[in-house]
Amino acid sequence: MPKQTFILNGKSVTVNVADDVRVLWVLRDILKVTGPKYGCGINVCKACTSHVNGKAFNPCAVRVGDLKSTDKVTTIEGLATLDGRKDLHPMQQAWIDRDVAQCGYCQPGQIMEAVALARRVRREGRSITEADLDAIRNVCRCGTYTRIREAVVQGARAMGPND
């Protein structure tokens, strides 16, 4: 069986699994990294949103064989600790400050999406607009959208250049 190697939350991991198994299942079922959630498996609900090389991606829509051994995958579990920080990422803190989560099932994906959005607007040299918030596709079936919007803006403001 092929060996699959990539960097997960700062550490290189190798798993024996077929190329076409989607990264979400490698994370959840084999590596037991369960922060990324399943909500559709077809890249529409965004519950599995994680980062690859610092950008948001959806592991339910990526074959593990397509990851390079140098690709850095970050899940919600690795978001805070990446830069040697011990506590929470500013976006996670904003989520707590705004008491965003209800059932919490969508929230790892929401937070990973929010961090990627904040990084993207920073690259573009601007700040988050209502249109950016409207374009967030992550489903929250508990309907926490209002608090998500507030937390994204607060968290993005609090993010430093390395967040």
């Binding site: 989607r22 609900c45 829509a61 579990e77 008491d99 209800q102 059932c103 374009a135 992550n138 079936r141």
Partner: protein, 794 residues
């Protein structure tokens, strides 16, 4: 035995802090053991109140000391227990489920308050199925806080009492000379201190003993009523919060079911069994009652196997049926209105009849976490882990299915990823147990594919609602009055087999006259629906037909549809009377709290402000769950907004502003209550504008979030205000569902005012949303996962 006079609870509330009333005394227990365990009875005895609440177990009555004394042989197995640990923490197993509604947080607050301990020292977990609690371990009808508030307070007060007694003993003084602050007891005379943890062991007894306590006055409360974040917020944002599929149960491999192409179809045979067994990762295949189960190393490999299966199927339950055939069936079953000639006191001159008729289509109640359960079935035992609101029933059903006794089945309640009524049913737990057995008594992690949820999962039933109002010039005074307001709902049968129906009926000791002949769902309908307006002869009735669908409640059962129809008629009647919708409502609302809520949203939302053509405000009320709500929305129905181009979306009219007010009685956690209203608001706009499933040729077309159009960021208003109104009530009302009905109705009213057209079908996008997607395949029943994810990084 002491004999104590119990006072009426309402009197006591009003008299709080005032002399002249005896405070209520409650009886509970300290159980014999090695650490302090304080206990109180949780019971559903009681009667329905006049304001018609489904979830109205009048718990305080049970705790009335007199009652408790007459019931001398109280079985201790019925008790809920608070344990004081030697590390100074208090732990409590809540016999309810937590699916995001915040009940573990509010329960911890109640315990911390009554016990005088820091909130973070209270650990609330979910109790496994406790058969002895029978009807009392069911989460539904937004009743958790209401039904558990007093019993939990009693248990906490008993624990505090026992700790004080133990401290008094140690200090050789009277309990009156002691002071408790944040889990530390101080001898005020000497300054010596002891913590709850120090006393946990000696406060316990060798034997069970009865203890009598008083509860805190509302005025003394410092935790209850203050805004608090959720107890699991940190777990949720770090990915550490475990849902059923995140549990690491040894050997429990991913398992998924290949389901029939039509609703409730059953499997005949898997034709290519050996080919499936030979697929990578596949560990087992078995036929179960709902399809072909496959167990594999990863869910991805389960999906691949399902897509490769060749299965022949038996017919489904609604072969050939469509939205239109079911609607026609409902239309045929509609109940008639009373002839106008029989409307009491109706003046013959100048009377007018208004009729409206609406269709509310099927909606999927699925949460974001699909149905999922872990099961480990052996020859003579079974253990299940799942988000369950009715775990005792699940335990019974699993035992029956497996031929085991109830004691051989352990049912663990896991926090659910949303419920909205969906987890009242235990299909997932039963299926997991069935799969575990059928695959050869091996542990399984069963998860539904998303596509299975709208297609085979629980639905909000399709409903028609007809309203007729008869108006005429007022007999006394000026203006026009409503002499009769009749609403006739006809619905596909709502499934109440999850036990909630029994809770309601057991709660309602004395059904109001005339309810005796009604069916269970009709009883619930009548008990939950209250129009709230002084509209002469008011009747709201339900008729049900067709039980072939998998139905259930969906963050409310009847209220949103019934309220949307009623409030649209209220706007028609305001026009008939030549009045502003707000002014008209205030004139005819019967209840002061409702008027206050309505006035609040009108004021905060600047009701009546001038708005551009194609946009408008809408306003509506609702009354239920021992509380009242009002909502004002602004909607934008201009083409530029309606036709926004967002891929895989229904954009449609946009609610651009929301102002919501709730009077929920005593509020435990205002922040949690606000969160529930925000969530309910999202559901309300979905119900009115976008979210439905389409039945065609015996199956539902929707299969995922790209075609079931639940509210998304592009549908919500940039700003939503929630106002929690002060209340002098001392008991809390429900929250989980209270945000939906008024929002759905205000949105519908705003739409009519903005467009000048009266919709007849809800959600408004039902007919157009079909063109927003291509239905996914039915054979195979699940779509493939895409592979282009690395091209879509952002």
């Amino acid at each position: 035995m002491t004999s104590t006079i119990s006072s009426n609870l309402d009197e006591q509330d009003e008299g709080a802090g005032v002399t002249g009333f005896r405070r209520r005394r409650f009886l509970g227990y300290v159980l014999g053991g090695s650490t302090l365990i304080a206990a109180a009875e949780l019971s559903f005895a009681g009667s329905a109140t006049a304001d018609g609440i489904p979830s109205a177990p009048q718990i305080p009555e049970v705790y009335d000391l007199e009652d408790a004394q007459t019931d001398a042989a109280l079985p201790t197995s019925q008790l809920i227990q608070i344990v004081i640990n030697t590390d100074g923490t208090a732990s409590f197993e809540l016999p309810r489920s937590e699916n995001g509604q915040g009940v573990t947080t509010s329960t911890a607050m109640i315990i911390a308050e009554e016990l005088d301990i820091a909130l973070k020292k209270v650990k609330v977990t979910l109790a496994p199925a406790r058969p002895e609690l029978f009807l009392n371990q069911l989460t539904g009808g937004s009743n958790t806080t209401f039904s558990t508030y007093t019993p939990i307070r009693v248990a906490a007060a008993i624990a505090r009492r026992a700790l004080l007694d133990a401290a008094a003993n140690r200090f050789e003084t009277d309990a009156e000379r002691l002071e408790v602050i944040a889990g530390v007891i101080t001898n005020t005379a000497t300054g010596e201190t002891l913590t709850f943890g120090d006393l946990a062991e000696e406060a316990a007894g060798l034997f069970d003993r009865e203890v009598e306590v008083e509860l805190k006055d509302d005025a003394e409360m410092t935790i209850v009523g203050t805004p608090r974040g959720r107890d699991d917020a940190r777990l949720a944002v770090t990915g550490a919060k475990d849902f059923a599929m995140d549990l690491d149960i040894a050997g429990a491999l991913p398992t998924m079911i290949c389901r029939a192409p039509t609703l409730n179809g059953t499997p005949r045979v898997l034709q290519n069994r050996s080919a499936i067994l030979a697929m990578p990762g596949v560990a087992g295949v078995a036929q179960v009652s709902t399809g072909i189960a496959v167990r594999a190393r990863t869910f991805g490999q389960c999906i691949d196997a399902i897509r490769a299966m060749k299965v022949s199927w038996n017919q489904g339950s609604v072969e050939g049926e469509s939205d239109e055939t079911i609607l026609a069936e409902l239309r045929r079953a509609e109940l008639p209105f009373t002839p106008v000639s029989q409307v009491p006191d109706l003046p013959l001159l100048g009377n007018k009849t208004h009729e409206l008729s609406f269709e509310f289509m099927f909606r999927s109640s699925a949460a974001l976490e699909p149905y999922a359960a872990v099961a480990d079935v052996r020859a003579d035992s079974a253990e299940v882990w799942a988000g369950l609101k009715s775990p005792i029933l699940a335990q019974q059903d699993i035992a029956k299915m497996l031929g085991l006794s109830q004691e051989q089945v352990t049912v663990n309640v896991v926090t659910g990823g949303g419920s909205f009524g969906h987890k009242l049913f235990s299909n997932h737990a039963l299926e997991a147990a069935e799969c575990s057995r059928a695959l050869g008594n091996v542990p399984v992690r069963l998860m539904w594919h998303r596509a299975d949820e709208p297609r085979q999962g629980r639905l909000h039933p399709m409903v028609t609602s007809r309203i007729r109002a008869v108006t005429a010039p007022a007999l006394i005074g000026t203006g026009r009055k409503v002499f009769a307001f009749e609403q006739r709902n006809t619905s596909v049968v709502t499934d109440f087999s999850h036990g909630f129906g029994e809770v309601i009926t057991s709660t309602v000791a004395d059904l109001p006259a005339g309810l005796g002949e009604l069916s269970l769902s009709q009883t619930i309908f009548v008990l939950t629906q209250e129009l709230g307006y002084d509209f002469g002869a008011v009747t709201q009735l339900l008729n049900e037909v067709d039980s072939r669908f998998n139905t259930g409640s969906m963050r409310n059962i009847y209220s949103p549809d019934t309220r949307v129809a009623a409030e649209l008629m209220v706007d028609v009647l305001a026009k008939d009377a030549d009045k502003d919708p707000l002014e008209y409502r205030l004139e005819f609302l019967r209840n002061e709290e409702t008027k206050r809520a309505l006035e609040k949203v009108a004021e905060e939302g600047n009701w009546g402000r001038r708005m551009p053509a194609g946009t408008a405000q809408g306003i509506a009320i609702h009354k239920e769950y021992k509380g009242v709500t009002a909502c004002l929305v602004e909607i934008d129905c201009r083409p530029g907004t309606v036709n926004r181009d967002i891929r895989e979306a229904v954009t449609g009219p946009r609610v651009t502003k929301g102002v919501f007010a709730i009077d929920a009685g005593k509020v435990i956690n205002p922040r949690g209550l606000e969160a529930q209203m925000i969530g309910g608001f999202s559901d309300g706009i979905a119900m009115t504008l976008t979210a439905s499933v389409h039945l065609k040729a015996g199956h539902f077309l929707e299969a995922s979030w790209d075609n079931y159009f639940y509210t998304r960021q592009w549908n919500v208003p940039p700003a939503l205000e929630v106002h929690i109104l002060p209340s002098d009530k001392s008991t809390p009302g429900g929250a989980g569902e209270a945000g939906v009905a008024a929002t759905a109705a205000a949105t519908a009213c705003a739409y009519v005012r903005a467009t000048g057209t009266m919709p007849t079908r809800f959600p408004i996008a039902h007919d157009t949303s079909l063109s927003a997607f291509t239905p996914k395949s039915f054979v195979p029943p699940v779509p493939p996962s895409p592979t282009n994810g690395l091209k879509l990084t952002r």
